[in-house]
Amino acid sequence: MAERILRKPAGASRLVFALVCGWLTLLLVVPLLALVGAVVQDRSEVLRTLLSAEARNALLLTLGVALACIACNGVFGVAGALVLVRQRFWLRRVLDALIDMPLALSPVMTGLAFLLVFGRSGVLRPVLDGLGVEIAFAWPSVLLATLFVTLPFTLREVALVLEEVGDSEEQAAATLGASPWQTFWRITLPNLRGGLIIGTTLTTARALGEFGAVLVVGGSIANRTQTATTFIHAAIEERQEPAAFGMALILAAAAILLLLFMQGLDPTQKRSPAHGD
C-alpha cells in the first residue's frame, strides 16, 4: 500500500500534481523568495533601519504583547475551558458562541469598538481620567486589542482536549485521596498539555501578526504604540521600503519557526489515549 502511495504520479494525476505544486509555489514560495531577494539587495539599508530605535521599540512591543497574551490566555484558556466543558449553566450556549466572536469580527471593527470604550469620548473615559490611566493610543490599548483577537485559540484547543479526555481520571484521583488542588496540578493540567501547546502556538502567531485592531486603537505612534506590523505599514506609507522588507522578513521567519515547532510536536502521535482500543 505504502509503496503505491509513494510512487511517482502518472498520467492525469501527474497533471494534478503539477497544478498543486505550481499553485503552492505561486502563493507561498514566490512571495517569500521575493522578500528575501529584496532584503538581500538592500541589505545595508535594511540593517540600518532595523537597528533604529523605532524598529527596536516596535519589535519589543510586539514581543511583550505576545508574551503577555500567551500568559493571559494560558490562565484564562484553562479556566474558561474548565467552566465551558465541565459546568452546566443556563448561559453556557451564549458564552460558547461569544467566545468565537473575535474570529468572526473584523479586527478593524474591534479596534473601533475599543476606541468607543477607551477613546477620547469613550464611555470609560471619566473613570480612566479619574484614575490617571491612559489606554487609547498607549501600549495598554495594543495589549487589550491583541488579547481580544487571541482569546479563542487557547480556550478552544484546551476545551477540545478536555472534552476528549473526560473526567474519569480526575474521579480516580479523588477516590485515591487526592485533593482538588493535587488533582488539578497532577492530573488535569498534564492531560491538557497538548491543547495548551497548540493553543499557545496559534495565539503567538496571531499576536505577532495582528494589524487592524492595533492600528485603529493604538494609532501606530512610533516608539509608543507601533508594533511590528504597523511599523511595516508606516514604512510603506513613508516609502521606506528597506525597513518594511526587513521587518516583514523577521515576522515571516518567526512564523516559519512557529510552524516548524508545531510540525515537530505532531499532536496525533503525542496524544496517545490510554483507553483507545
Partner: protein
C-alpha cells in the same frame, strides 16, 4: 468494612435510576451487583464511593454515616469500567499515586509498588505507559492502583467488561484469590451472570433501580424471589398455564407448583436443565433443532397445544452431550417431556430481560 445502604434514591431528570434501595454487606464479603444494563447498578456503586450524590437515603460504612464525605475522604478503592489510568504517568507512578498524595515516603511507595507489580503479574512493566500495555494488564494496573492505599472496601464497576473472554476468565479467578488474600470487602458490578455466580459469596439482582433479590448464588438459582429473577437467571422457557391442585397444566405437560389457587392463570418458568426429553411416539412435542454447543446439546421442540388458541409453542432443553436421554432424538421425531422442577407466577409477566 461493613456497608449499609438505606432507602437510596437517585434520579437523573425525570428518570429514577435507583429506587428506594436498601441492603447490607458484611465485612469481608465478595458481593456481585448483577442485572441488565441500565438497571442502576453502577450508580449505586458510585454513590457508595462518593462519586455521585444520592437524592435521598443513607450510606453507612463501618457504622458511620458517610453521605457528607467527599470521595477522597472515604478511603474506598474504586476500579473504573474503562480503567481511567493516568495516561501521562507510568504504570509504577499510577500505582504509587494514592500513596504519594497521602505523603507516604518515597521508599515505602517504591516497596508497595514493587510488591503489587509482583502480585499482579506485572513485573518489569513499571516503566511502561498505560498505552503500551494490553487491556488485561491495564485492568490489573487499575486494581493495583486501587489496592495500593490498602482500602478496607474495594468497588469494581464492570471490571472485566472491556477484555476478551479468555482474559476475563483468568481475571475472575484472580479477583477471587485476591479477595481471599487481602480480605477487603468487595463489591463488583456485572451484567454477566456467569461471572457473578462464579466468584461472589452473595449476589444482588438489580433491575430498574430496585433490588429484586439478595442471596447466595444457590439461593438465587433454586429459589428465585420474583418472576424477573427466575427469567433473568439461566436459560429458561416461559409458558402460560393454569393451576390444577399441585400442578400447573401447560398444554399436555404437568409442572409441579405449590401455593397457588386452583384455576389461576400462571406463567410457568422452566429451566433448560429441569426438563427431560426422550424419544417416544406419540409423545407431546416435535423436535425442530438439535445443536451441539461444546459439551452440551440443546434440543428445541414444538410443544403441542401450549401456545395461545391451542397452537404449538416452542420449548427447549439442554443435556450433557452423552446423556442417554438423547438416544434417538433427531429433527422431526416425536418426544415425551417430563418437568422435574418448575416455578410459576400469576398475572402478566414483566418485560423479558435484554
Amino acid at each position: 468494612m461493613g456497608i449499609e445502604v438505606r432507602n437510596l434514591v437517585k434520579r437523573f431528570g425525570a428518570l429514577t435510576v435507583v429506587d428506594a434501595m436498601s441492603f447490607e454487606v458484611q465485612p469481608g464479603e465478595l458481593v456481585a451487583l448483577l442485572g441488565p444494563s441500565g438497571g442502576g447498578k453502577s450508580t449505586v456503586l458510585r454513590i457508595i464511593a462518593g462519586l455521585e450524590t444520592a437524592d435521598a437515603g443513607q450510606v453507612w460504612l463501618d457504622g458511620a454515616r458517610v453521605d457528607h464525605l467527599h470521595a477522597r475522604q472515604r478511603q474506598v478503592g474504586f476500579v473504573f469500567q474503562h480503567y481511567a489510568l493516568f495516561r501521562h504517568m507510568t504504570v509504577a507512578q499510577n500505582i504509587a499515586f494514592g500513596l504519594d498524595v497521602r505523603g507516604v515516603p518515597r521508599a515505602e511507595q517504591q516497596r508497595t509498588v514493587e510488591r503489587l507489580l509482583q502480585v499482579m503479574g506485572l513485573r518489569g512493566l513499571g516503566d511502561r505507559m498505560p498505552s503500551q500495555i494490553s487491556g488485561g494488564q491495564r485492568q490489573r494496573v487499575a486494581l493495583a492502583r486501587a489496592l495500593a492505599p490498602t482500602p478496607k472496601l474495594l468497588l469494581l464497576d464492570e471490571p472485566f467488561g472491556a477484555v476478551d473472554a479468555k482474559v476475563r476468565e483468568e481475571l475472575r479467578q484472580w479477583l477471587r484469590r485476591m479477595h481471599d488474600a487481602v480480605g477487603a470487602t468487595t463489591i463488583f458490578v456485572t451484567h454477566d451472570q456467569e461471572e457473578a455466580f462464579a466468584i461472589a459469596d452473595r449476589v444482588m439482582i438489580i433491575q430498574s433501580g430496585r433490588l429484586e433479590q439478595h442471596g447466595t448464588p444457590l439461593e438465587i438459582l433454586d429459589h428465585p424471589a420474583t418472576e424477573f429473577v427466575a427469567r433473568f437467571v439461566g436459560d429458561v422457557n416461559v409458558l402460560t398455564g393454569r393451576v390444577h391442585g399441585d400442578h400447573a397444566r401447560v398444554g399436555p405437560l404437568l409442572a409441579p407448583v405449590s401455593g397457588l389457587p386452583d384455576g389461576q392463570e400462571v406463567h410457568v418458568v422452566l429451566r433448560a436443565y429441569d426438563l427431560k426429553f426422550w424419544r417416544e411416539d406419540p409423545g407431546v412435542a416435535t423436535v425442530r433443532r438439535v445443536m451441539t454447543i461444546g459439551d452440551r446439546v440443546r434440543v428445541e421442540a414444538l410443544l403441542d397445544r401450549a401456545g395461545p388458541d391451542g397452537q404449538p409453542a416452542p420449548i427447549f432443553a439442554q443435556f450433557p452431550r452423552r446423556s442417554s436421554l438423547l438416544h434417538g432424538v433427531e429433527v422431526g421425531c416425536r418426544i415425551s417431556i417430563e418437568v422435574t422442577r418448575a416455578r410459576a407466577w400469576p398475572g402478566v409477566p414483566p418485560e423479558p430481560a435484554s
